[in-house]
């Protein structure tokens, strides 16, 4: 009599605990710094739509690749480039065929001063500035894009002595937003609100001046059994998510 009551209690408890888990899972997500604003918004909508919750960590893609290679706990990885997820795939750490481009990054030349940056970037030739901020091209795809632009404009050699490099795009933003660097290259998503550059002045750089920033997402093997992780990958391709991604100035992959 007594044992059956205990076992019934145990079954009820188990159902409560594990049943709960299968309905609403928690997903650990590593997110490239430039995508932090849109992803926070998407995660909110994702929770409302699916009941799963996404725990977001922001940082540089390079650091996340190192961490994931050494057994980092993230189940979904939203990189700022294509290379990181490819490397993880080669190392056999991802779920095959889950890799896809979730957004095409947009580069902007930005300053906190109103009317300082013109809409053709002439300021780069004529400006009398002391520092030009960009993300470290060795580490960050937005840094590589910035170097592309300067080389296309034949200004790289001239401006290189003025470079101050942020370790990732968020730090590059600090350099400019605190006015320590008069201007610099950041991600459009960092300075745009509801489709407009709200603060200071900026030049949204034409696509033909830099190699596309193909921001790639992938499902890690760690998240293969997590229903929430697969759901998040699907949700990133859904209409509401794509709409949010667009309002932050990103292009969508074709």
């Amino acid at each position: 009599m007594q044992t059956s009551r205990i076992s019934r209690l145990a079954i009820t408890l188990a159902l409560l605990l594990f049943g709960q888990a299968s309905w609403s899972a928690t997903v650990l997500v590593a997110v490239a710094a430039n995508f932090s604003k849109p992803m926070t918004e998407i995660a909110g909508e994702f929770e409302k739509a699916t009941g799963h919750s996404a725990k977001l960590s922001f940082g540089s893609s390079g650091k996340f690749v190192s961490q994931l290679k050494s057994g980092g706990p993230f189940e979904v990885f939203l990189s700022a480039d294509e290379k990181g997820p490819e490397k993880l795939e080669q190392a056999g750490l991802t779920v095959p065929t889950t890799r896809f481009v979730y957004a095409l990054g947009k580069l902007v030349l930005w300053s906190t001063r109103l009317g300082y940056v013109d809409d053709q970037g002439k300021i780069l030739e004529t400006g009398n500035f002391k520092h030009l901020a960009l993300a470290n091209p060795k580490l960050a795809p937005y840094g590589i894009a910035a170097v592309d632009v300067l080389k296309k404009m034949k200004l790289f050699e001239k401006l290189q002595p003025l470079f101050v490099q942020g370790e990732n795009i968020a730090q590059t933003y600090h350099f400019i937003s605190t006015a320590n660097a008069e201007l610099g290259f950041v991600a459009l998503s960092q300075v745009i609100e509801k489709g407009k550059i709200t603060n200071g002045s900026g030049w949204i750089i034409p696509d033909n001046l830099y190699t596309p920033i193909r921001q790639t997402a992938v499902l890690m093997k760690k998240g293969a059994k997590n229903l929430g992780a697969a759901a998040l990958i699907d949700y990133l391709k859904s209409k509401p998510a794509l709409a949010i991604i667009k309002t932050y100035g990103y292009d969508l992959a074709k």
């Binding site: 390079g62 580490l139 101050v164 490099q165 942020g166 370790e167 600090h174």
Partner: protein, 228 residues
């Protein structure tokens, strides 16, 4: 092996650490002396302020220094007023940041050493008509030598190992702000593990040698405190 950029970073690091250590001794010695001797009611507050950099995570301290040293920050306005450039992304900027960041490691051992000397040797010196400066250099400094040694070692090594502050205000500029900890971090982030291992190995070896020399030198000198 080490590339030129790595060697430059090593050299820059020891330059920053040496200059910072000298500055910290110059500023920290009078401060520690005052803190050890004073009965002023502000003493606890000043003590707490000196120890504050220990509490703040280096990147947080670095971020606020970036704001303060920027064109619209307090320090930034001061530097503009006296007609020099703002300090972030410059060599003097990271030296100033290092001094602020590592100061507790210099002040605290000195303060303890000064306090443990006590009144007697100072009174004895006074009866022999030694002036305050003479007393300080002929009595206090020899008696507090272990404290000075600890202060130099801690101040120097803490600056060599500094990373977060420089990350925030340095801007990764070769020969100006790209210190060795930044360079190792850059290698690791770029997944160049081999280069990172080499540079980290050299940093450890060099630092070990410097420390070994310091400790050896301090041992061969007679320890004045034992003569008391």
């Amino acid at each position: 092996m080490l590339a030129n950029a790595d060697l430059d970073a090593l050299f820059l690091t020891f330059k920053v650490a040496s200059i910072s250590t000298v500055l910290m001794l110059l500023l920290g010695t009078p401060l520690a002396w005052w803190l050890a001797r004073t009965t002023c009611s502000w003493k606890s507050a000043i003590n707490a302020i000196v120890a504050l950099p220990l509490v703040l995570p280096p990147t947080v301290l670095g971020f606020y220094l970036l704001v303060l040293m920027g064109p619209s920050g307090l320090i930034g306005e001061l530097t503009t007023w006296i007609g020099v450039d703002t300090l972030p992304f410059t060599f003097p900027g990271i030296v100033l940041a290092s001094v602020l960041y590592s100061m507790p490691f210099v002040v605290q051992p000195l303060q303890t050493a000064f306090a443990s000397i006590g009144e007697q040797p100072l009174e004895a010196a006074a009866t022999l008509r030694a002036g305050p400066l003479d007393t300080f250099f002929s009595v206090v400094v020899p008696l507090a030598k272990p404290g000075f040694l600890t202060a130099i070692i801690l101040g120097f090594t803490h600056t060599v190992g500094e990373f977060g502050v420089v990350l925030m205000i340095g801007g990764n500029i070769p020969d100006k702000t790209r210190v060795v900890s930044m360079q190792i971090y850059n290698h690791v982030e770029a997944l160049e593990y081999n280069e990172a291992h080499w540079l980290a190995g050299c940093l450890l070896l060099f630092s070990f040698t410097v420390l070994l020399l310091l400790y050896t030198v301090s041992k061969t000198q007679p320890n004045v405190q034992q003569l008391k």
